[in-house]
């Protein structure tokens, strides 16, 4: 083989085509779509999902799955809201969210890495537990009356830039650096690609797997902070079902469920695609039942295109 760089194959072509079709289509169909204000809308609306989908990419890279994330975000949102009411301190509030999330991550990681329970089963169990705890903590009520410093997280802006945008830019930068510029990132790829390689490199795969789930939990806490700020409330069922959106975004972005093959930027695009689809259909006033169909069709079509390109096994 020569040193010629092989042409890098385009990743997630289905998603790319879908994005182009949607962007052009919505711009044609609705004059409001391509406005700066609406673009900002889409980004702000997608911020919580992105904060969950980025660490989900890590989890899926390890050949794992986290079904609990929606329930955990909900749990974190009520926990941090209660702390916010009690202390009024943004630092304490954020810490509470991240801590509760990380604890949920410890449970997931412990079940998966140490008791070796398949991720699907383990996180299905945690889902139930987190949902229960959120209900018990609140008695089923949303927790309102958050102080203004918490509301600032979604509603405020710094130097004219809305805070959620700063948060997701920072989140992406952190997660990108972590995945591609640190030894930990290489370990994440190895967890899915070849765990034996980690052992032989003197790295405990269990500890690394644990770290991935704890990281995911901590980000769920951060997502909960943004969500609570957006709702001005902690809500015990606010993010139920978000895990499937997150998994869909990650998969749309070209991350495979096997062998540690993935792409973080793809996840960003996947989240954007889901946001754009919902926003565009709303602007076109497409009925909700048709919207539901469209989401399914987007997912299937994006992968169909992929299939026509991939070589036979």
């Amino acid at each position: 083989m020569t040193a010629l760089p092989l042409p890098t194959r385009m990743r997630a072509p289905g998603l790319m085509v879908a994005m182009v079709v949607m962007l052009v289509g919505f711009a044609v169909a609705s004059r409001d779509f391509a406005m700066p204000g609406n673009v900002l809308n889409i980004i702000m609306q997608s911020s919580v999902l992105l904060l969950v989908a980025l660490p989900m990419t890590f989890v899926i890279l390890t050949e794992g799955l986290d079904l609990s994330v929606g329930a955990v975000v909900s749990l974190c949102s009520v926990a941090l809201a209660q702390v916010a009411l009690a202390t009024g301190s943004l630092v304490m509030t954020s810490a509470a969210g991240v801590l509760v999330g990380a604890l949920a991550g410890v449970v997931n990681g412990g079940l998966i890495a140490y008791l070796r329970i398949p991720p699907f089963v383990a996180t299905l169990g945690t889902l139930g537990a987190a949902q229960s705890l959120a209900l018990v903590l609140t008695g089923g009520q949303s927790v309102t009356g958050l102080p203004s410093n918490v509301l600032f997280i979604y509603g405020g802006s710094i130097l004219g830039v809305p805070v959620p945008i700063l948060i997701i830019v920072a989140a992406y930068a952190i997660m990108h650096s972590l995945l591609y510029y640190t030894p930990f990132g290489s370990f994440v790829f190895a967890l899915g690609g070849n765990r034996e390689a980690l052992t032989l490199a003197g790295v405990s795969w269990r500890r690394m797997l644990m770290a991935v789930y704890v990281l995911g939990g901590a980000w769920a806490g951060a997502a909960a902070l943004v969500l609570a700020s957006r709702l001005s409330a902690g809500h015990p069922t606010a993010a139920i079902g978000m895990e499937f959106d997150a998994i869909a975004a990650v998969a749309l972005g070209g991350t495979s469920f096997e062998r540690g093959d993935g792409w973080l930027l793809g996840t960003l695009l996947g989240v954007a695609a889901i946001g754009i689809l919902r926003n565009g259909l709303n602007l076109m006033a497409v009925s909700s039942s048709v919207q539901v169909c469209c989401i399914g069709i987007l997912v299937i079509l994006a992968f169909t295109l992929e299939a026509f390109r991939a070589p036979e096994l």
Binding site: M1, T2, A3, P5, L6, S177, Y181, T182, P183, S186, F187, F189, A190, G192, G193, N194, E196, A197, L198, T199, L200, A201, G202, V203, R259, G260, D261, G262, P311, E312
Partner: protein, 522 residues
């Protein structure tokens, strides 16, 4: 079976060996590394019993033994992946503890594994330095430019021309092995363990590896080299240690031993490595391939296989041999040409092959040949299901009888038909893969590297079995990287280069020289 009379631990001629180096260092008076009385028991298996071994700087120490003799356990003890139950390790005369891979690395021990320790979706550089990436100025962040520079340096050292940013999953098996070697070398190892490093390499790449080994030796690196290839053992080895059943049988000098002697020590009895067979007059044409091209890149393939003959398919690794086998069998999509089996046009699917009585014994037994988590019985019946049970209903007794017959016929060593396939040794697993086609009464066999990773005793059995098949009127197309096997076993052979067949050698012309000449010609 006559067991060789040498008791383990008995002083051997090779034990007094000292390296012939110019360096007059006091360290040379003691071995670089010494293992004393290492024992290791896994649940139910005694893997190592009181194995002692010493390696000096600048020595290439060949380690021989059948599968299950304890070589890989010994290696794992050395690299810290497994800890010994008893015994001690001395490094430069001092006792040391190797409890983890990190300990081993600190002592300068590096291992080149046969089963790749690479991460498919990381690039070459990140693989080479996995867990050891150079740190940058920002804490926790990898210094990427240094990472790539260092990798380039190591790759140049072994003369391996590949972009360090290339993702490993895009590399072929041979190149992955080179990355594996680069990974071990990048650790500046003082003790290097290699497990069949040439198994996947072409001759040219092997030559390059041998040159590198010579250079490392000159630098005083101690090398433990595991191989099944006699030629390598004698060409490279300073000393040879033979393991059998977890014990050291003997350590000897190459000059003291003949290949037959080594095989006898490994197996515990005499084995004929020339694989004698009766050459007969071939019968009617069973397989006829005309102008076959496939999506995998092979083109214009013409070949025939007749009743009662073994036809070799050889060439360098990557020359397209496996692709030809897959295209004929219907595993890869064919773009042009035709395949006739027993005169009938082949439908181009694996299912059709099975129906026509054609069998494929694939290169990678575990990933393509067996359902490891299922039982021996399940695997044996897999290919024969539609013809054994024409009604569609599975009769347990019929199935059991059919499977049992093959177990007996092939001498498969298994506790029962309900044993999981993964519990069996490589040789027995290979027999199951062959056996499932015998249950299906196949008559045309394609063997892709049938003896890879199988020990010498089992190898002879496999070849005896193949001979039996052709004696009974079957036709065989056999791919092998070991040219001596082709020369000994085949009636004829086709030689491939660059995805095409470049020549056909009749029995009289069949020699390693001719194969290499055709395969390498530019």
């Amino acid at each position: 079976m006559s067991i060789d009379g040498v008791a383990p631990g008995e002083p051997n001629a090779g034990g007094d060996w000292r390296p012939m180096t110019d360096v007059q260092d006091s360290a040379d008076l003691t071995p670089k590394l010494e293992l004393r009385g290492i024992s290791k028991t896994f649940p139910g298996v005694r893997a190592l019993t009181e194995v002692s071994l010493s390696i000096w700087s600048g020595e290439t120490h060949m380690l021989l033994g059948e599968n299950g003799a304890g070589k890989s356990t010994l290696m794992k003890v050395l690299c810290g992946a497994v800890s010994a139950d008893s015994g001690e390790v001395l490094y430069g005369g001092r006792p040391v503890r190797i409890a983890s891979p990190a300990d081993a690395r600190k002592l300068g021990i590096a291992v080149i594994f046969q089963e790749f320790s690479l991460v498919p979706h990381l690039d070459v550089a990140h693989n080479v330095f996995l867990g050891r990436a150079p740190r940058g100025r920002i804490p926790g962040i990898t210094d990427r430019s240094r990472l790539y520079a260092e990798t380039r340096r190591v790759l140049e050292l072994i003369g391996f021309d590949v972009d360090p940013r290339e993702s490993v999953h895009r590399l072929g098996v041979a190149h992955q092995q080179m990355v594996e070697i680069a990974k071990a070398l990048s650790q500046n190892a003082r003790i290097l363990v290699m497990d069949e490093p040439t198994a996947a390499l072409s001759d040219r790449e092997s030559e390059r590896l041998f040159a590198m080994i010579a250079k490392l030796k000159a630098d005083g690196v101690a090398i433990i080299y595991i191989s099944h290839r006699m030629a390598e053992v004698f060409a490279l080895g300073d000393r040879i240690t033979v393991l059998r059943d977890g014990r050291r049988v003997r350590t000897l000098l190459p000059t003291e031993a003949s290949p037959d002697e080594l095989v006898r020590l490994m197996v515990g009895r005499s084995v004929d490595t020339t694989y004698p067979r009766q050459f007969r007059k071939p019968g009617a044409t069973m397989l006829e391939v005309r102008g076959l091209s496939a999506v995998s890149g092979i083109s214009g393939i013409d070949l025939i296989v007749r009743e009662g003959e073994i036809v070799g398919l050889c060439g360098l690794v990557g020359s397209g041999r496996t692709e030809v086998a897959r295209a004929i069998f219907g595993a890869d999509k064919v773009t042009s040409g035709e395949v006739r089996v027993f005169g009938r046009i082949h439908p181009g699917s694996a299912e059709g092959s099975a129906r026509l009585g054609m069998a494929l014994i694939p290169e990678s037994r575990k990933s393509e040949g067996l359902a490891l988590i299922r039982t021996v019985g399940d695997n044996l019946l897999l290919a024969a299901l539609p013809q054994l049970f024409r009604s569609g209903l599975l009769w347990v007794a019929t199935g059991r009888a059919a499977a049992q017959r093959i177990v007996a016929q092939l001498g498969i060593v298994t506790a029962s038909l309900r044993q999981q396939a993964l519990a069996l040794s490589g040789g027995n697993q290979q027999k199951i893969v062959i056996g499932k086609w015998l249950v299906a009464r196949s008559r045309l066999f394609i063997f892709d590297e049938p003896t890879r990773g199988i020990d010498i005793g089992a190898k002879a059995q496999i070849f005896a079995l193949i001979d039996e098949l052709v004696a009974a009127g079957a036709g065989v197309l056999m791919i092998s990287s070991e040219q001596s096997e082709i020369v000994h076993v085949c009636d004829r052979a086709y030689v491939m280069r660059d995805k095409r067949i470049v020549g056909e050698l009749q029995r009289a012309q069949l020699s390693e020289e001719n194969i290499v000449r055709l395969g390498m010609q530019q």
